[in-house]
Amino acid sequence: MKFLVCISKTPETTAKIAFTENNTEFDTSGVQFIMNPYDEWYALVRAVELKESLGGEVVAINVGPASNDIIIRKALAIGADRAIRINAEPESALGVAKLIADHAKDEQYDIVFTGKETIDFNGSEVAGMVAEYLDLPFISYASKLEMEGQTATINRDIEGGVEGIKVDTPFVISAAKGLAEQRIPNMRGIMMAKRKPLEVIEPGDIPAPVSVVKYELPEKKEGVKLVDPENMDELVRLLHEESKVI
């Protein structure tokens, strides 16, 4: 089977978020970047596991500049067989999806994996758009995936429960927690990754439907006030006078 795993680069979870250029650009100075955890821990690892049991090939794809090569190498160290980087700034979900679909349309992938969202913009958009461009079924938020022949049995997380689904390849799937367990690359994997091919392709037309008007940080959360359970009057007063909810 042939698997495509879409990987993206996101700021590390503890990064301090600030903006520049009159709040229209994210300030990357001093920020550490990592592979988006949903892509790495769940989508990529499940694809590698399936390849290990069923045979085939795992291809990792990223839309981004050369500075993304380190996360692509990490994907190769974890077990992808080769990688493709489409040399363009990932400016909108639609643009990224179009570029991935441009590559995938003639490649006969059985399954296209993404993470359920990136942990920076949390858009959850790319996977659905890739599926639409490729005219393939799309299963989101998958927490379990088993293959039998060409048929996949999938659990997907839904509000308040789990939905069981069967679907035939080819399809697009977005990975949620539970789909696999994080794999830490070992030194052998890191050395092998150096010899695996990383192909850079120049982008075709990129739709650019969105532009950033401005970023804003959410309001700082106020500290919690603890009220003695004996002191109900104080609680009522605070709810009435300070938070003005009663």
């Binding site: 830490i184 070992n186 030194m187 890191i190 050395m191």
Partner: protein
């Protein structure tokens, strides 16, 4: 599956998540290659997953987390710079350095488990062994199937190994080995020991002694207040018949063990930075959270002096290690240069552990924070692989040409 999955739940008793973040004040990451960064991040992730949740428990009980031997092998921590066909990682010396740094960020004892296996057991067999010995032992050592130890120090000969009395006598196709070694990391759990002994001419030779050879025992040394998660023991040889095929053919004299020590000391020069970084990281975070007199203690000048000096010393040590690594990659690092880095960086780490301990106040003496454990560990690191003073004498001899050892 993680290495700790087989141990009981109550052992994983650390309730705190390891919030460690690296500190790179001079953007030294720009000097590292992609492999170095990937290796470092992988080992950091492994330490957070496998070491941090259990280390306080094992250290407290003075027990070795032997389940980690396998995990260290899987991640590739044994002999990273030994070629892959001999069970190593085929990486360069800086990769070896950053791996040791991250392991020691977790615990000096865990780093010692890996240092001994890679630099003091695999390295001499790789460097001085016959092709047969290499093929027989190295892949199994690299995969953690065999655990090794290194016997140089004796009860009466520590800083002066040339005085060793452990000896071998020719007996046809074998040598008869007699003597005792002291302070040997991993010895009670080791399958093989690389042992240094004098032959009948008084020339130091290296031998591979196997655990079930008759007359060989390895009792554990108890009562350590330092490196408590690493097991230490003796090696006792009473007329042990060691086949001549177990002698390392390609080295004679003290340069054999000393070249292994150079390799291990190089790793310690990097490792100590890890312990220092963990102490600094914890102290910095604590200083911003802990309030006294109505403000975070990090806002007081005396705390800032401590923190500012810590990160300054760490940055200098990082530069020293990086330069040493670059020289080592070019095959140009001298033993005296390695001594300087080992001495400077371990002392730096110990001083930082002590200052960080103060910043944590009373909490600093508990196992809620890693600092006191690092501090106690570093007392060993300051002493083994050449004491702090012995390394000073090496530098002194190097710059004056005069020997002050004797």
């Amino acid at each position: 599956m993680g290495q700790n999955d087989t141990i009981s739940e109550d052992v994983k008793f650390s309730t705190k998540t390891d919030q460690y973040e690296g500190h790179d004040y001079y953007n030294l990451d720009d000097l590292l290659s992609e492999d170095h960064l990937l290796a470092r991040d992988a080992v950091r992730a492994w330490v957070k997953q496998e070491v941090s949740p259990i280390i306080e428990h094992y250290s407290n009980k003075a027990e070795c987390p032997t389940q980690l031997f396998k995990g260290l092998a899987e991640i590739g921590a044994y002999g990273p710079s030994i070629p892959t066909q001999y069970g190593g990682g085929g990486m360069d010396e800086i990769a070896y350095g950053v791996i040791m740094q991250e392991l020691e960020r977790g615990d000096s004892g865990v780093r010692s488990m890996a240092s001994v296996q890679g630099s003091l057991v695999m390295y001499p067999i790789y460097r001085f062994g016959s092709e047969e010995q290499r093929m027989k032992y190295l892949p199994k050592l690299g995969s953690g199937e065999l655990i090794g130890c290194f016997g140089l120090t004796e009860p009466d000969h520590g800083s002066n190994p040339s005085g060793m009395v452990t000896n071998i006598k020719d007996d046809g196709d074998a040598y008869i080995l007699n003597g005792a070694k002291m302070w040997i990391t991993n010895s009670p759990v080791a399958d093989i020991a690389v042992v240094w002994a004098k032959d009948e001419e008084g020339v130091v030779r290296g031998l591979i002694v196997e655990k079930d050879m008759e007359g060989f025992t390895a009792p554990e040394i108890h009562g350590k207040w330092s490196l408590r998660a690493s097991i230490t023991g003796e090696l006792v040889f009473e007329d042990v018949r060691v086949p001549k095929s177990n002698v390392l053919p390609n080295v004679t004299g003290l340069k054999g063990p000393l070249s292994c020590l150079s390799k291990a000391r190089f790793g310690i020069a990097w490792g100590a930075i890890g312990a220092a970084l963990d102490c600094y990281d914890s102290a910095l975070r604590y200083s911003l959270e802990r309030e006294q007199f109505g403000k975070p203690i990090g806002g007081f000048q005396l705390t800032q002096k401590k923190l500012a000096e810590m990160i300054t010393e760490i940055t200098k040590a990082q530069l020293l290690a990086w330069r040493l690594g670059t020289l080592a990659n070019e095959g140009k690092a001298t033993p005296a240069q390695i001594s300087m880095a080992k001495r400077n960086n371990v002392h730096m780490a110990l001083e930082i552990a002590r200052e960080a301990r103060q910043i944590h106040g009373g909490m600093g003496i508990t196992n809620e924070y890693p600092v006191m454990r690092h501090m106690m560990n570093l007392e060993t690191v300051l002493t083994y692989e050449g004491t702090h003073d012995i390394h000073l004498l090496i530098t002194g001899m190097d710059v004056t040409g005069l020997n002050a050892f004797k």
